[in-house]
């Protein structure tokens, strides 16, 4: 129950949930979803495949093939649910952990690996899949998303913008500025906060004294907390928020209540700051297991289906690995490329000097 529920009235539960950890469908007064068996199988496949790519990336990092990797383990439902809610013309602005959303947008996972391998800083065309570049500076992309949404308004287009950020990011000035901007301009933007309980080693209590979704009311727009491990609920809530945004009803904050099951990144050691029991408790709320249980119970798929998805996942893992290892290192002179869009004489001068220097080693 929310603390400020009107007296006597039955307030909706604080956490929007449509599928329990045990795989039971439950009702919510404000949100519902009607999915075909085909769609449910599709969501299950997404969840499994993005977890598999993530696992492969962690392995590649361990073997020295990636410099670092930020795992999405545990956050698959939040990302697939929200990612699959997007219309093609909607625009998504990610952090560095949105591999599941990237998957939904059709971005090749090898592009993501290239960034963490150090081949480039991203390099994909945001306009191609309506999926912006990964942003590493915490919170910066929230303002880009709002600006983009203001552009959508000026184009009189029917599109929404969604922006992802973490619980830690909610303390950043840029995120708070973006809330203000979105509010006063009534921008068609959905703020999707994955509260995975941790910002590296800092627990949520270091960022906020109130549930994050309630921050929205101070800025003048609605906020909702959704079970971030429930792909149905994440899909339903995001779909509604996007539709509202598209139809001119302005911004909304979604707090997806989830858990970072892995380390912050492959460089991190969570045993230094959190107890193992916490992870064990969250494992019982695993985003994939509950969908599997639901499908079994309702005979939406048989063992053959699950085996086929697992086989597809293994193939994908192998393919991604192979193509990651084949990524060539860029040429040294690529350092000077794309710094400016138009000719810039300092770049030309230094490129020529560097080329001459390198040539000195030849022969």
């Amino acid at each position: 129950m929310t603390a400020d529920a009107p007296h006597g009235a039955e307030a909706p539960p604080e956490l929007v949930q449509l599928l329990t950890p045990e795989g039971e469908r439950v009702e919510h007064p404000d949100y519902d979803i009607d999915l075909t068996p085909e769609e449910i199988r599709g969501l299950y496949r997404d969840l499994v495949l993005v977890r598999r790519v993530d696992l492969e990336a962690v392995a590649l990092q361990r073997q020295g093939e990636l410099g670092i990797w930020a795992s999405l383990l545990g956050q698959e439902a939040a990302q697939i649910g929200s990612g699959r809610a997007l219309a093609e013309t909607d625009m998504a602005f990610p952090t560095y952990r949105e591999h599941g959303v990237a998957w939904c947008r059709g971005v090749d996972p090898v592009n993501l690996l290239g960034l963490f391998r150090g081949v480039n800083h991203g390099g994909w065309d945001p306009a191609e899949h309506n999926f912006h570049l990964y942003t590493i500076v915490i919170g910066s992309q929230t303002l880009h998303a709002v600006g983009y949404a203001m552009g959508v308004q000026r184009d009189s287009a029917e599109a929404a913008t969604i922006v992802y950020f973490g619980d830690g990011a909610t303390s950043q000035g840029d995120v708070n500025e973006s809330f203000i901007w979105a509010s006063v301009f009534n921008a068609p933007v959905v703020f999707f906060c994955q509260n995975n309980q941790w910002a590296i080693s800092e627990p949520l209590e270091k960022q906020s004294r109130i549930p994050l979704y309630r921050r929205a009311s101070g800025f003048g727009f609605p906020g909702v907390r959704v079970d971030g491990n429930d792909v149905f609920a994440c899909l339903a809530v995001t779909r509604k928020a996007l539709a509202d945004a598209r139809s001119g009803q302005g911004p909304m904050l979604i707090e997806a209540f989830t858990y970072r099951m892995g380390a912050h990144t492959t460089s991190d050691d969570p045993t230094r700051y959190r107890v193992a029991g916490e992870l064990e408790a969250w494992k019982l709320k695993d985003p994939i297991e509950r969908v599997r249980a639901y499908m079994f119970k309702n005979q939406l798929a048989d063992q053959e289906f699950f085996d086929a998805i697992d086989a597809e996942a293994d193939d994908l893992g192998r393919d991604v690995r192979k193509r990651c290892l084949a990524l060539p290192d860029p040429e040294p002179l690529a350092i000077f490329d794309h710094v400016y869009a138009e000719p810039h004489r300092l770049m030309d001068e230094e490129r020529a000097q560097f080329a001459a220097y390198l040539e000195g080693f030849e022969g």
Binding site: H132, V137, V146, D174, E177, I180, W181
Partner: protein, 327 residues
């Protein structure tokens, strides 16, 4: 030809850019009804509407961050930072995002965003209203940095900056906003000098004075005074700080054999250091004296009752000229 103040020339330049391209937007604090605290955007909201001339919330990071988003959607935002000393809340967005996003995308993203910054002192203002922060931005790859010094350049350079597909930090000499000059608003853009090109604004033979923004006028006055002493100074308005027009600078210094570089910003690690190093490299065998720098003391900008002592003036420039000739 019309006689325009520098502020009005900027205003006319922006107006022309907005007429030419419906994607050009103006955004900033008080830029709408008020026309900006210096009136540089006066009348633009009235004529182009609130969708194109946007009074923003009071948050500089938000201005630049949302401008980036608008640029991603195909717009060409021209952002006003109200005063030099207030660009720092936006520094993160300018340095980590605006400057680097095009490279991050391997050239697929272009960010034609102009960041206008009224800069420099001499107006008797309180703290944070008289600074010259250009070196922070010239040090950031991915940005172009330019400074206009007179109404004619203001008119053309602001349009060139808006038309440029790279982000441009555009410094405006606030104490020169009200100075008037003839501006040819009918000349075809093809005939304008490129905005990354330096201009010789007074030819001379004995010493090259390099300056930009508010110091150009000071240096021209110094050159006039020096002439009475029989010294012929060539004054070069750098106009573009990143990239620097090394070729034109070199051409001048090879001819004169002496060079001083003048700016309001503190000398230590100021933009003049880069210029001096470059000139030393390209003109070493032509130099009769080391390149000397004239600028503010390496202190914070002082209270306004002291600013006349802080800002380089005609005498400080001439003193440096004397030193250059004494070698």
């Amino acid at each position: 030809m019309s006689t325009l103040t520098l502020a009005k020339a900027l205003n006319e330049g922006m107006r022309k850019a907005m007429e030419d391209d419906p994607k050009v937007l103006i955004m900033g604090e008080d830029v709408g009804k008020l026309g900006g605290v210096f009136r540089v955007t006066d009348g633009l909201q009235k004529d182009f509407g609130e969708q194109r001339v946007i009074d923003t919330p009071l948050a500089e990071s938000g201005i630049i961050g949302t401008a980036i988003g608008l640029a991603l959607r195909g717009y060409r935002p021209v952002c006003e930072i109200q005063f030099d000393g207030f660009v720092f809340p936006a520094a993160d967005q300018i340095i980590t995002q605006l400057a680097k996003m095009p490279l991050r995308s391997l050239g697929k993203v272009r960010l034609p965003v102009v960041v206008r910054i009224p800069c420099g002192g001499g107006i008797g203002a309180v703290e944070h209203h008289s600074e010259s922060p250009e070196a922070y931005f010239t040090h950031t790859a991915g940005l172009r940095v330019v400074a206009c010094s007179n109404p004619a350049d203001a008119y053309t350079m602001i349009q060139q900056a808006i038309r440029c597909d790279d982000p441009v930090v555009f410094f405006e000499p606030k104490r020169r906003y009200w100075e008037k000059a003839e501006v040819d608003t009918s000349a075809a853009p093809a005939g304008w000098p490129p905005f990354d090109q330096a201009q010789v604004v007074r030819p001379g033979t004995d010493l090259t004075v390099l300056a930009y923004g508010p110091m150009v006028k000071t240096c021209l006055e110094a050159a006039a005074a020096a002439e009475e002493d029989g010294r012929s100074l060539e004054v070069v308005d750098l106009r573009s700080l990143n990239p620097l027009d090394v070729a034109r600078v070199t051409e001048s210094v090879r001819k004169t054999g002496r060079c001083i570089v003048v700016h309001e910003a503190p000398v230590y690690n100021g933009f003049g250091a880069e210029v001096a190093a470059r000139v030393t490299e390209t003109c070493f065998y032509n130099l009769e004296a080391p390149v000397l720098r004239v600028g503010g003391p390496s202190t914070p900008y002082p209270p306004s009752r002291l600013e006349d002592h802080y800002l380089p003036d005609l005498d400080r420039v001439l003193e440096a000229v004397d030193r250059a000739f004494a070698f």
